[in-house]
Amino acid sequence: MEIGLTHYLVLGAVLFGLGLFAMISRRNAILVLMGIELILNAANINLVAFSRYNGLGVDGQVVSIFVIILAVAEAAIALGIVLNLYNNFATVDIDEANTMKD
């Protein structure tokens, strides 16, 4: 059976679901970040697959480059926040960090 567009879309959907589960259920802030990375990768797979199967050129690939750029910025900022959280609360458990002022 030839691999078509739907195969890639289903792969992206499964990856999105796993990332969503990680974002909702894990308590470690870094694992939540990993869930976000999985979701962004799922979106990128969809973009590149659409770019391949619509015959309109490389627009989807250019948009996926922007997604990668934003993922880098997000990871840097979020890790700065997580390090700050660790300095203030001595934990990265996002349930423990429930005060705005110590």
Binding site: Y8, E37, N41, N44, R52, V58, A75
Partner: protein
């Protein structure tokens, strides 16, 4: 069976299995190293989709940058020699049901939509086209992305700084 089919299923298997290990592993460091395999196999998927530039960018940026950053984060915020490394899950059953529900809806939509598939030209190299696109049609987002990166650089340096009392 053409070899691309075998390759796709092998890569998809690696992606899904290691993503499941990322999500369900109790040890944070193991999750980070499973994410390594996921990102590498996704780069292989891009090669199958004939997006060579995106595949290389994926390896350089995700595997070489973001993953190293995440492992730094794990190392700096957990006591590696301690039992602290293990984390618990929260509301596993409701979030599992929610995620599976959303994925089911998405897959139902994928299979019930009639996609308008047209194959483009295969032989052209994508790097040239992407460069032309970035400097013509997508020039404004490209410039804004550079500003976003600068702001993220300054902001994360400010966040991560230790404030002296």
């Amino acid at each position: 069976m053409p070899y691309t089919t075998i390759l796709f299923y092998a890569l998809a298997l690696i992606i899904v299995v290691s993503a499941v290990m990322v999500v369900f592993n109790k040890n944070v460091v193991h999750s980070a190293f499973s994410l390594f395999f996921t990102l590498f196999a996704i780069s292989g998927i891009y090669v199958l989709l004939k997006a060579d530039f995106i595949a290389l960018t994926q390896i350089m940026v995700y595997v070489g940058g973001i993953l190293i950053l995440l492992i730094f984060g794990v190392m700096m915020t957990t006591k590696v020699t301690n039992v602290e490394l293990k984390t618990k899950n929260l509301n596993t059953i409701p979030s599992l049901v929610f995620s599976i529900g959303i994925v089911t809806v998405i897959i139902f939509i994928i299979f019930s939509t009639k996609w308008n598939i047209r194959m483009g030209l295969d032989s052209e190299e994508t790097v040239t086209q992407i460069g032309i696109m970035l400097l013509s049609k997508y020039l404004l987002p490209f410039e804004i992305a550079s500003i976003v990166l600068l702001v993220a650089l300054i902001g994360s340096a400010m966040f991560a700084r230790r404030i002296k009392d």
